[in-house]
Amino acid sequence: MMTPSTHVAAAPPAAAQPGTSRSVRPAGAGRARTTRRVRSASLNAFGIVIALLTLFPLFWMISTAFKPSQEIYSLTPSLIPAHPTFGNFRAVISGQVSGIGSVWLFFRNSLAVTLATVLVASLVSLLASVAVARFRFRLRASFLVMLLIVQMIPAQALIIALFLDFERLNLLQNLLGLIIVYSAQALPVSIWMLRNFVATIPKELEEAAAIDGATGFRIFWRILFPLVAPGLVATSIFAFITAYNEFIVALTFLGQAHSDYTLPIYVTYFFGRGGAQWGPIMAASTMYTIPVIIFFLIVRRRLVGGLTAGAVKG
C-alpha cells in the first residue's frame, strides 16, 4: 500500500501547488519554494494514506461480495475478484441462504420505518420548536434542559420498560412500534436543531401576515414552513440516520418476527446463523450500506452544517 500512495502523491505536482495565494514572496526565494513543495507533497501523501486506510474496509466488503466462495477462502486473498460474480447478490435476493426471505423485504421494512419516522419526527418537532423559539412561557428553559438531558438517556436503560409496555400494547412484533419509539427518540435533538432555524426568521413577517388577516395555521403553513425548510432537511437527515441504523430496540421488539425485520436485524440474524456464508453476508451488508453512503454524499453539505449547528454551537 505504501508504493502506490507515494507514487500518486509525487505524480501530480500541479495538484500539490495550492500556493497561488501565498506566492507573493520575492522571486529569489527558490529554496523556500522547494521546501514548500516538499511539505505540500508530504501532506498530500499523508492525506492519500489516510483516505486509503479509511476506504479499505468498505472496499474489502464490496470486493468480497463479488467473489466466488473459492476466492473468498483462498490462502492468498486477492484485492480485486479474479472472477467477479453476482452469485452472492442473487443468493441474498432469492433469500435461500438466510432462509428468512429476500433482502428486498427487509429493505422495504427499513425504508417504511425510516420514512415514517422522518415524517412524524419532523412535523412534531417543528411544532415544538416554534413554541420554544417564538413564545416566552413558563417552564421554557426547563423544557430545553429536559431535552438536553433526555437525549442522553441511552436506549439500553429504557429497553426493559419499553419492551414490557409495548408488549402490553401489542406493538412488539410489528413496524408501528418501531416508528413510535424512533420518532420519540429523534425529537429532542430535532427540536433543539430546528429551534435555531425558527429563531432566525424575522418575527415581523408573521406579524405582518397576522395584520393582513392570515390565521395562525396559514401563517405557519405559508410563511414559517417554507422558510424553515433547510432546518427540516437537517432534522430529517438526523431522523433518517437514527431510524435506519437503530439496533437495540428493533432487536428486542422484533424477536422471531422474521418478516418484520429491518436491515440491521436481518444482517445480524444472517451473521449469527454461522456457516461462514461470508460472500452472501457481505453482499447483504453492501446492499444495506451503499444507499446510506450515497445519501450522505448527496446531503454532505447540510450534514456538516446541521450537525455542527446542532452539536457544537448548540
Partner: protein, 340 residues
C-alpha cells in the same frame, strides 16, 4: 408597517387561491383562536405532541425502570403467578457483588479511556490536514471519511468481524506476511481475535469505533478552524512559530469549547456502544467480553430466568454514570449560551 406587510406578501407564493374555509367553520376557528390567544395557550398546544411522545416513550419508561430496580419483577410477577414485592436495595447489592458486573464496567471504562483520546487525536489530525490540503485532495480525503462515517454500525461491525476472521480474514493474512520483527514473532495465521480474550476483542472494537467516529471529530474541528482568522495563524508563522506551537498556543485555546463538547459526546457515545460489541463478541457467547450494555441486556433478556428488577438496577447504575457525564455536557452548553 405598510412596507413590512408588503414583504409578507412577497413571501407568499403569487397566485395562491385565496380560499378561506366556509363561513361557519371560519367562525368557529376564530373563536377557538381567540380562546387560545386570551389564555396564551399557543405554545402549550404546539408543545403537546412532542411532550406526549417524549413523556410516554422516554420519561415514563425511565420511571418504570427506577421502580423495577427496587422490586423482584420478572416473568412470574407479570403472569401473576407470584406477587410483586419491594426488595429494597437487593438488586443493587447483588449487582455490586457480581464479579461479572465489575468486569463489564472495567471493559467499558477501558474502552472509553483508549478510544476517546484516540478518536479525538485522529479526528483533530485529519481536521488540521483537511484545512491545509488543496481543494481536490481535501475533497478526496473528506469523502473517504464521510463513507466510514455513513456506514451503519451493524454493517461496520459485521464487516470488521470478517476482516479479522481466522478463516480467510485479510488482517491475519497481512500480519502473517509482514516481517516478524514488526508484528512480533507470533504466528498470526488463523489468529482468533474475537474469542481468544476480552483484550483481543476490544482491540477490534476500538479500531472499529475510531474508524467510524473520527470523521465527525474531523469535520467539527475543521468547522472550528474556519472560524479562526487566518491573519492570526499567518502572523504566528511569520514570527517563526513551529506548527506544534501554533496549535497549542492559538488553535487549541480558540477551539477549546468545541473540544470540550466533542470530548463529552465521545465519552457518552463510547459508554453507549451496544451493536458493535454485540456483533464482535458474538453475544451471548463470551461473558468476560461484556461491556455494561451487554451485561444489562444479558441480565434482562438473555439469562434464565430473565430478571427485570436486576436489569432495572443495572440500567439505573448505567444511567447515573451517564447522567454525571451529561451534567458536564449541559453545563458547558449552557455556559456557551445555548438557552438564549
Amino acid at each position: 408597517m405598510a412596507g413590512i406587510s408588503g414583504q409578507a406578501h412577497a413571501v407568499l407564493p403569487a397566485g395562491l387561491p385565496d380560499g378561506l374555509p366556509g363561513g361557519g367553520k371560519a367562525g368557529r376557528a376564530f373563536r377557538a383562536g381567540a380562546f387560545i390567544r386570551r389564555h396564551k395557550l399557543a405554545p402549550y398546544l404546539l408543545l403537546t405532541p412532542a411532550l406526549v411522545g417524549i413523556a410516554l416513550v422516554l420519561l415514563w419508561p425511565l420511571v418504570q425502570v427506577v421502580i423495577f430496580s427496587f422490586q423482584n419483577y420478572g416473568i412470574p410477577q407479570i403472569t401473576g403467578v407470584a406477587p410483586t414485592q419491594w426488595v429494597g436495595l437487593a438488586n443493587f447489592t447483588s449487582t455490586f457483588k457480581d464479579s461479572e458486573f465489575w468486569l463489564s464496567l472495567r471493559n467499558t471504562v477501558m474502552l472509553a479511556i483508549v478510544v476517546v483520546p484516540a478518536t479525538l487525536v485522529a479526528g483533530t489530525i485529519v481536521g488540521l490536514l483537511l484545512n491545509r490540503l488543496g481543494k481536490k485532495m481535501a475533497a478526496f480525503v473528506s469523502t473517504a471519511a464521510l463513507m466510514a462515517w455513513a456506514t451503519p454500525p451493524i454493517s461496520a461491525a459485521v464487516l470488521f468481524y470478517w476482516l479479522v476472521n481466522p478463516d480467510g480474514g485479510v488482517v491475519d493474512w497481512t500480519l502473517s506476511k509482514l516481517p516478524h520483527w514488526l508484528v512480533g514473532s507470533n504466528n498470526w495465521a488463523q489468529y482468533n481475535w474475537t474469542t481468544t480474550g476480552a483484550f483481543q476483542a476490544y482491540v477490534v472494537i476500538a479500531v472499529l469505533v475510531v474508524w467510524q467516529a473520527f470523521p465527525f471529530i474531523a469535520v467539527s474541528v475543521l468547522a472550528g478552524l474556519k472560524t479562526i482568522p487566518t491573519e492570526l495563524l499567518e502572523a504566528a508563522r511569520v514570527d517563526g512559530a513551529s506548527p506544534w506551537r501554533v496549535f497549542w498556543k492559538i488553535t487549541y485555546p480558540m477551539l477549546k469549547p468545541i473540544f470540550l463538547v466533542l470530548l463529552l459526546l465521545s465519552v457518552i457515545w463510547d459508554f453507549n456502544i451496544f451493536g458493535q460489541s454485540y456483533i464482535i463478541t458474538g453475544f451471548p457467547g463470551n461473558q468476560n467480553e461484556y461491556n455494561l450494555s451487554l451485561y444489562l441486556y444479558d441480565k434482562a433478556f438473555a439469562s434464565l430466568p430473565p430478571s427485570y428488577g436486576l436489569g432495572g438496577a443495572i440500567a439505573l447504575i448505567f444511567a447515573l454514570i451517564l447522567l454525571v457525564i451529561t451534567v458536564g455536557y449541559v453545563r458547558s452548553s449552557v455556559r456557551q449560551g445555548a438557552l438564549a
